[in-house]
Point group: C2
Chain length 334, copies 2
């Protein structure tokens, strides 16, 4: 338990202390067949006494398994992704895996760097929320034969499982709610055109048949404020705004407040992604809520299956509309 001089104890020390070979120690620790109950207890006693813990690096080098998943996330400060990260981590832990979270900050470069870094560390599998459509980094993952699952967003020619939420229905309903509340011209604060979610949400919402004014943001707070500012400055200002992500929604709210515009009387508002504080606003914000926890969990499950050798199918969960009041009330004249 107590080493006078601090020095990491190795399997060799344990072997010596227990009067056996390192092979035997290893066998005991890995529950392998063989060791006699008697040697077993002797080894375990030595382990305990020396406070021995196996060096994970050495072990992984030998076994080519790290029991570690890599998670590359677009933006850690985005609560949507933070929640996903947590769910992934929980599911992974339940299966004896550890997760390394890397934050790409919505940058394709940084994402590529992290993917490489995680591959270097020989993670057993990779979970990525792609920052952009650029698929070049995938080749690198494939070349290393590392299982890969895409989360939330997809990229061009991805052949790996994808886990995401489908908001088509919810966005159609949202268009209907806006129309019913008398909105005809709607300003959309869309995500980047080079992300699948950016494009899809816009496209699906466009099917609602409303007259759209579109400005693209980058899924971050400031871009939401900027986009809102631009939309609200236009000659015939839209009567409602829809932000396609919670952070841009936050930015839009800030801009509305700055301009002293009242929701929903001056301008209606809806946001993609729910947040715990949206119901606390006055009025509470109407949102498209994504099943974040399930997304994280399913993604982790898929990846673990892939690692185990199975061929999990794509997972498509459904987002749902939560009407709260920030779009105004339905008028008789629908």
């Amino acid at each position: 338990m107590t080493e006078g001089v601090h020095s990491v104890t190795t399997i060799k020390d344990v072997a010596q202390h227990a009067g056996v070979s390192t092979a035997t120690v290893s066998r005991v620790l890995n529950g392998h067949a063989a060791p006699t109950p008697e040697t077993r207890t002797r080894v375990l006693a030595a382990v305990d006494e020396l406070g021995y813990r196996p060096n994970a690096l050495a072990r992984s080098l030998r076994t080519t398994s790290t029991k570690t998943l890599g998670l590359v996330i677009s933006d850690l400060v985005n609560p949507f992704f933070a929640e996903i990260a947590r769910a992934v981590e929980e599911e992974a832990r339940a299966h004896g895996y550890c997760v390394i979270v890397a934050n790409a900050d919505e940058s394709a470069d940084q994402q590529a760097t992290y993917v490489r870094n995680l591959l270097d560390r020989r993670v057993d599998g990779l979970l990525v929320c792609p920052a952009t459509d650029d698929p070049t980094w995938i080749a690198e993952v494939d070349a290393n034969d590392v299982p890969l699952v895409l989360l939330d967003r997809t990229v061009e020619g991805a052949t790996c499982p994808v886990v995401r939420a489908d908001g088509a229905q919810a966005l159609a309903e949202l268009a209907e709610v806006l129309r019913a509340a008398g909105h005809r011209r709607v300003g959309v604060i869309a995500g980047p055109a080079d992300t699948s979610t950016g494009r899809e949400r816009l496209e699906q919402f466009a099917r609602g048949g409303l007259d759209l004014e579109v400005v693209h943001g980058d899924f971050r707070r400031d871009s939401g404020a900027l986009a809102a500012a631009e939309l609200l400055s236009r000659a015939d200002r839209p009567t409602a705004l829809v932000a396609m992500d919670n952070l841009m929604g936050l930015g839009a709210l800030e801009e509305l407040r700055r301009r002293g515009l009242k929701v929903p009387d001056d301008v209606g508002l809806a946001v993609y992604d729910d947040q715990p504080w949206f119901p606390l606003l006055d009025p509470p914000i109407t949102v498209v809520a994504q099943p974040t926890v399930e997304m994280g969990r399913e993604a982790a499950r898929s990846l673990l299956e892939l690692i185990a050798g199975a061929q999990p199918a794509d997972v498509r969960l459904t987002a749902r509309l939560v009407v709260r009041g920030s779009c105004g009330e339905a008028t008789g004249a629908a």
Copy 2:
């Protein structure tokens, strides 16, 4: 660049391809003295052609350095910690280090498990936001001679550097603001008594001389709602609530809304930790804002210094009061 059969290329392959020894390849890749410009380019060409990337596990095993920091955080979904995590990660990256984020979920057990796991992985240093005061896990870190820095919270007999924010001044001012607004009996939703921040904030606020009703929460949302409910149900209900953490503040806000109580007329409110959406509420929430980004950055810097062999001092940043209106206006009769 393209390997027909997927197989990881090792340094041996590169050596063979370039017609040199593995030692030379290693020297080139590590910028060591020696290699001739000519062999240099030849090796680099081979590296490029084979798409070789060194195995970080093997390298770390040999060098006993992983260029990795471990960050154990109390709760990843808490935006306060998420922001800290991001700052840590950014600072670490700037110095060529990678960060493994582990989420203890405010559980001492899970924290201990993760600390052990990170030690097993031979991180070069450890950054911990302790879940509780229990200091037993520190012995383990010390036994491995791994540099340690405590973040946000401290524990009993910690001999390592600590980075935190000092809210004494801000809390004193808050007490003054509340008093000026006519509040005398204040309900405090305090953090757990077995965390340093839980105790300190309460104690420092208590110095303000107000009549306090205290209920302890656990730094999470639900406990904030529960505590608020209890305080508001008491016979002579406090005229204001102070939540000692943003998540408990969120819970308290939800409870207030549920009861239809208006802030600040029915009950005043202040929260420890600022959040981007607090200014958007009606009224905007008065808060004690912590310098989260600086905390993360300073913690990372301290740890890196410690790793480099220096003896960084404790860092104590200051939190500041941001008065917004949720505590009511100062009345003439102060």
